[in-house]
Symmetry: C2
């Protein structure tokens, strides 16, 4: 079992931020990544549709014989995790619980959450944070332009700064001390967001927290295999060209071979 | 035959700009609209994937017994029109030829074309314009942020103005006298674009030109039926909530009943 790969999926390139943190923390593990680029994005789609896509993506990875499923997409983690855990007989880690756990360390208990429409509408971050810190005040804001801004390579462009000012203004007014980056694309906008919020606001990067959660789970369950060879395999559901190009900005590295597959 | 409906499809809400112009020019015709909202957008996806989606969307409308197929999506028109015409035994109108015909009236023969990555990469607008005006100079620019800006309701927001300045600068420098709005979302940004380009640049709205092309075709082929009753029917492939909300801004009106269907 421990010799198997870790399966990671996202709607597209965003989950590469999670992939990168896992690869960095557990360099010897073999990783298989699936980006559902033929149907990206998930963040503007309904619960039913996202659940269907997530089950199909997970099934593909399970068929590859992975030992762990990482849902590297906030929207899919928000709406599909219970169904994935019910359907498949292997551990499933999403990005929301690890992010919420870290956010619950807020000192003033005023926490901002930003994400796609799907993630914010699901209310999963407030639920997960309140389970750990019942009197926390949560201020949520959907930021639909951040994904296209990151994919355009404009994460630090004036346009991104102006959009961020508009989206974050209510959170600034609310005097949050912690901001959850509730979408795997958002770590690319980290500098832009920090400039607007100032250094006193702690930014929670779900990608980092999720990688730590994977490490903890492996230690608990004896699943780690630091000597696997560190192979990285990428699958996408559309032609790989755009994924390879945009993915380089996410990994700050070339991806190597990316194979197109059909799922669903 | 002439008693049948007109079938119109797009990847999502964008094609409603085309729908609106057809409904306004031919108010008595029955219209059936399909938005492939479970797989939107098409503009960032590959030729193969967009062709597959367009064939599936068209098949759904053909099964409804329509007399004409309008491809109200620039990306699908750019890459899938020949396959659609080959597959189905009914007239098919896309949005590119009508827009190109109008653009070819440029006086200084310096024409800008803006659209999604898929539309610009296809090179279909330059090809169609050059067929009519061989010595035209075409300046193309993909504007990936315009679709999310329009869907966010930010078409006239400062963020849209700043993004438009960035995208249009090379076209301003090139001294174009005509700009093709090569994406069905872009008419919503018309005021913003006109402010940057000035009143001397003529904006070609594919939606208006396509509606005129439908009217011409009906006159030529005796397909018009001005007394059909003007029924409007909407289908989408994801849950209708978001389509209804965003669609109101496109139609400046409520849509009435929207039904979810599965295609493909």
């Amino acid at each position: 079992m421990r010799h198997r790969s870790i399966g990671i999926f996202d709607s597209g390139v965003g989950g590469l931020t999670v992939f990168k943190e896992i690869a960095s923390l557990l360099p010897g593990e073999n990783l298989i990544y699936l980006g559902d680029t033929a149907r990206v994005p998930y963040g503007t789609k309904s619960v039913e549709t996202v659940c269907r896509y997530a089950l199909e993506a997970a099934e593909f990875l399970v068929d590859q014989g992975v030992k762990l499923l990482v849902v590297a997409c906030n929207t899919a983690s928000a709406v599909a995790l219970p169904q994935l855990r019910e359907r498949f007989q292997l551990p499933v880690i999403g990005v929301i619980e690890p992010g919420a756990k870290r956010a619950a360390k807020s000192l003033n208990r005023r926490i901002g959450v930003i994400g796609t429409e799907g993630t914010i509408n699901s209310n999963r971050y407030p639920e997960a944070i309140h389970a750990l810190l019942p009197d926390a005040k949560i201020f949520s804001a959907p930021c639909p332009l951040f994904v296209p801004l990151a994919e355009e390579g404009w994460a630090e462009h004036e346009v991104a700064k102006l959009a961020a000012k508009e989206y974050l203004q209510p959170l600034l007014t609310a005097q949050i001390d912690t901001l959850v980056l509730g979408c795997t694309h958002y770590p690319l906008l980290r500098n832009t967001l920090q400039t607007i919020l100032g250094d006193t606001v702690d930014m929670v990067d779900s990608a980092e927290e999720t990688a730590k959660a994977v490490q903890n789970l492996f230690q608990q369950q004896g699943l780690a295999n630091p000597e696997c060879g560190g192979q990285r395999t990428f699958f996408v559901t559309d032609v790989p060209t755009r994924f390879e190009r945009v993915g380089r900005a996410f990994l700050r590295n070339n991806l190597g071979r990316v194979e197109q597959v059909q799922i669903g």
